[in-house]
Amino acid sequence: MEADSFPQQAVQDIGQIDSADLVVGIVADLSQEDVAEVCGGLRTLPGNPRIVVLQNRLASDATPIGSAVPAQDASLSLVPWSLQNQSPPTTPVEGMLAAYQSILTIGKRLGVRGCCVIASKLEHAPSKWVCQLTEPLLEASCDFVAPSYARRKFDGLLNSGIISPLMRSLYGLRIQNPMGPDLGISQRLYQKLLDGEQNGKTGGSAMHLLASLVPLVLCGNLEVSQAYLGARNYSPSDWTTVSSLLSEILGPIFLAMERNAACWQRTRTSSPVKTLNEPVSAPQTTGTVEIDRLVHSFQLGIRDLQEIWGLVLPPASLLELRKLARVPTERFHIPDELWVRIVYDFALAHRLRTINRDHLLRSLTPLYLGWVASYARELETAEENAVEHRLERLSLAYETGKPYLVSRWRWPDRFNP
């Protein structure tokens, strides 16, 4: 990302700052009070580091900057910065993620020791958890501080069902949210990320940048830790955009798999990462999941997309899926082993370019919704701690299935479906 993509005012403000120790980018739409709390929290960091806070402000927001924030001083500069002023993103996710690139680029320009991105609205006071994300970067020579949110059974399903267990099985790091969105990154890591981006190794887009975080940490022998931040407010999901989400998120992850194949094939087991504080529990969400609709989507996929899935999945998996489509809705359940093999087969088809990559990832939607239906049915009436056990079981299934992925990855022809 070049300097000319920043708003002119932000460029001028940053130009007046010689150097800093930490850049904190607030991508989430936080209120002035929350921003004041973030700044207050950052002022309590040990060692009195010089901090630049980039505050995302909506174009419509007329509140004067810093009105709710205590007076700026030599140790903290608050720079207003509007995402809307940047080049129009192709999708909302892309638009938000473009901010990550900007923050890292500003961090590199100022030569900071760490960058932190606040992309969520959390239920806890931000002053506390912003320190948990930033302190290890400055004090404990940690390279990547990943967030861990209080588990709610139906929150972050894409992360729970695919991203987190897949990354854990591939790279051997038990990180609850390997792609953030709230995160802390050290100088070593952001330089690697930005260098990789310049060399085209991370793929160019911001999503590729996030998908490259864990591979870079593992392959570069960097330090990683996890901070419990409390409950996160997830934005409501629109089921019609699930296929776009899958395409946007899984594409970069599968691409990172391809680039780091030598590295993840050497990893055999997973290990927990250092945690910085105690987990926080949150009240479970209420509401009824329309499982019938999810199963109907799966059945529709079985009826109409078999021609495409036949190019990707081996006959045994297809047969199991066909059997599942005939099962009554109340007994519908996709076994973890089958789900894991499906994800691995799609990753392989992505690598082999069996069909157009966008088509491939979008055609996973009915299968993903089928998995969500199974998961929702299992956990509908479950206790809070059952979620953790259920997801641990899924992660273990991913790890157990890894030899299947490695075999297919190395000798795709022998396993040709």
């Binding site: 996710v93 709610r152 139906f154 929150d155 972050g156 399903l157 894409l158 992360n159 997830y234 934005s235 409501p236 999901s237 089921w239 019609t240 699930v242 296929s243 989400l245 998120i249 969400t285 209420t286 509401g287 009824t288 999941v289 329309e290 609709r293 109907h296 989507s297 529709l300 996929g301 009826r303 109409d304 997309l305 495409i308 190019l311 082999l352 370019r353 069996t354 069909i355 157009n356 088509h359 979008r362 055609s363 939607t365 009915p366 969500v372 929702a376």
Partner: protein, 234 residues
């Protein structure tokens, strides 16, 4: 009188034999050209076949989504189709060279018109190939998109879209080949319009029930039903 008849017969026989003898080099040249082109076609065909086999061309073609090409190929092998087409092209070129060796106005103009038509044929083949690829891509996009939107008639939409693109492609290829342009334009208009009309009817009639059900569901929905679904994907 008899002498004159004899002389006329002699002269006509001489003319005929002379003209026939004049054709012999042409026939020999045609025979030789065919022989050489057949030999060349066999060698080139074999080389191309081996080259494509070593490149696993058949697998690549099916991976590129051109499996219909295999259906049209001898023994379901696109490699054989490509090598055979190249061999045939060499034989046809040899035949045209042989025909041109007759050096008569008729054969020369025949060769000229055939050679002039070759770019049209190549253009039509390219149009058909590109059309088939585009049709497959668009049909797949429509199918996946419609399934993800939970549309029960996704396959119908996809097949309809593929045929629309294919009909357009075939019409373009025929116009490019200058074959019954007027009829093609008329037939294309009728066929294209017919497919669109049929699709509109099918989708309209098919979704009538869907819309009714949806409206009924909305009408019956109690405030408790409108509770937001708790699923959060990202």
């Amino acid at each position: 009188m008899w002498g004159q008849v004899k002389q006329a017969l002699y002269q006509s026989t001489t003319r005929f034999v002379t003209r026939l003898a004049g054709l012999v080099p042409g026939f020999v040249a045609l025979f030789l050209a065919l022989l050489i082109s057949l030999l060349l076609a066999w060698i080139v065909g074999m080389v191309v076949r081996r080259l494509l086999s070593s490149m696993r061309f058949d697998e690549r073609v099916s991976r590129w989504g051109l499996s219909s090409l295999a259906e049209w190929s001898p023994q379901n092998s696109p490699t054989l189709l490509v090598s055979g087409t190249i061999a045939c092209a060499i034989v046809v070129a040899g035949f045209l060279i042989g025909i041109a060796a007759f050096n008569s106005d008729l054969t020369s103009s025949l060769v000229r018109s055939i050679v002039a038509y070759v770019p049209n044929v190549v253009g039509a083949i390219v149009i058909l190939a590109v059309g088939a690829i585009v049709a497959r891509y668009v049909a797949r996009s429509v199918l996946i998109g419609a399934v993800n939107l939970n549309l029960g008639y996704a396959r119908l939409l996809s097949v309809g879209t593929r045929w629309l693109v294919m009909v357009l492609t075939i019409a373009m290829a025929l116009v490019h080949l200058r074959i019954a342009v007027g009829i093609v334009e008329l037939a294309f208009g009728i066929l294209f319009g017919g497919i669109v009309f049929a699709l509109a009817l099918a989708v309209g009639l098919g979704s009538k029930e869907l819309v009714t059900k949806s409206l009924e569901r909305d009408a019956k929905r109690t405030p408790a039903d409108t509770i937001e679904e708790p699923l959060r994907h990202l």
